[in-house]
Amino acid sequence: MMIHVTDQTGQEHALEGLEGWRVMEVIRDWGLDIKAECGGAMSCATCHVYVDPAWTDAVGAPSDEEEDMLDSVGDVKSNSRLSCQILCSDALDGLKLTLAASASKDA
């Protein structure tokens, strides 16, 4: 499967994702600017992404715990998600998302 990620500078990247991997892990392993401080424990919100509106239904809504974590960044939008909470699957082949400024290593 492929995911299409726009980074904080506006550059687009087509990344190969592996079934069952977290989208955060794919973005991190491809070397994009994602901090992912807690490593996927949903304890930091430093893997914040905006899901392309065409994909929000397929990705689903954040859990209450994820919403709580999103409180810790100041650039939340209605399509905000933590990429550690999105699992790669064939149903998400072609997923488009954008890295939030608050996910940057320097944020």
Partner: protein
Amino acid sequence: MSTEITTDVVVIGAGPCGLFAAFELGLLDLKCHFIDILDRPGGQCAELYPEKPIYDIPGFPIVTGQQLTDNLMAQIAPFAPEFHFNRMVNTIEKQEDGSFRLETDADEIFHTKVVVIAAGGGSFQPKRPPVDAIEQFENKSVFYAVRKMDDFRDQDVVIVGGGDSALDWTLNLQPIVRTLTLVHRRDAFKAAPASVNKMKELVGDGKINFQLGQIAKLDGENGQINHVHLTTDAGDLSIPATRLLPFFGLTMKLGPVADWGLELNDNTIKVDTEKFETSVPGIFAIGDINWYPGKLKLILSGFHEAALMAQAAKAIVSPGERVVFQYTTSSTKLQKKLGVA
């Protein structure tokens, strides 16, 4: 007047790898002092996931971050390391005799033969809201913690956040401020329910304002804000304010480590794989903060690094002394140190 402390080893960072280092150093009779920016041991484990399970610690099929911290504290107790919490090391200077002089932001000076940096992803620091040029207002009219309540007396205060810190300071400051506005992006809070109920009472009584929205921009000059601009579902909103308290939690930054003259690789410290020594002899780096070819950021890697570092540290603190490698299972000498023989 500064407090001066002399020791064998200063460990910067009291996360799991730093704590285990005290065990390995203790077995070699080296005395440790810890310096940590947090207010308790455990580092990222205790701060980010105290209740979350870890599955890859040898011998523990499952252990939470807090349990691991508690167990490590029990394991190192026989060596009585000393902890200095809520401070950050500002400077490290190498002395002519090869030892080091460390200065903290709490006006302490440490004299030590060995420094071990076990600072994980760096030091925990408050998260900055994504607002342009907020730095110019920090510690003048924008604060990430309340050090002196009197700084907020008779001020127009805006507090941003929905957690315990935001709610606690909303309730604590309300009686002494001129106006107080609590800003949160949604009408759900993760603070203690009693605090949320009390805040809602005060909103109902007109004693504080609650505004749904996110902080977008600050107006002001010479470090003094005068308006906080918000983005809300109903459009942009401007609130007169003389103090801003954003409570977005903590994030990790390399911090002053970057200025200590160590060879770095991105945001990590280069070390060798024999001793985990940095480019400055006598300064070691273990755990997530170090880098070498093949580095895996795992707690168990940090434990291994701590053991090898300790052997090298012993050679620096006690040069010429022959160290016989011993196992805790069979050495009565080690068992006596651990208080079990």
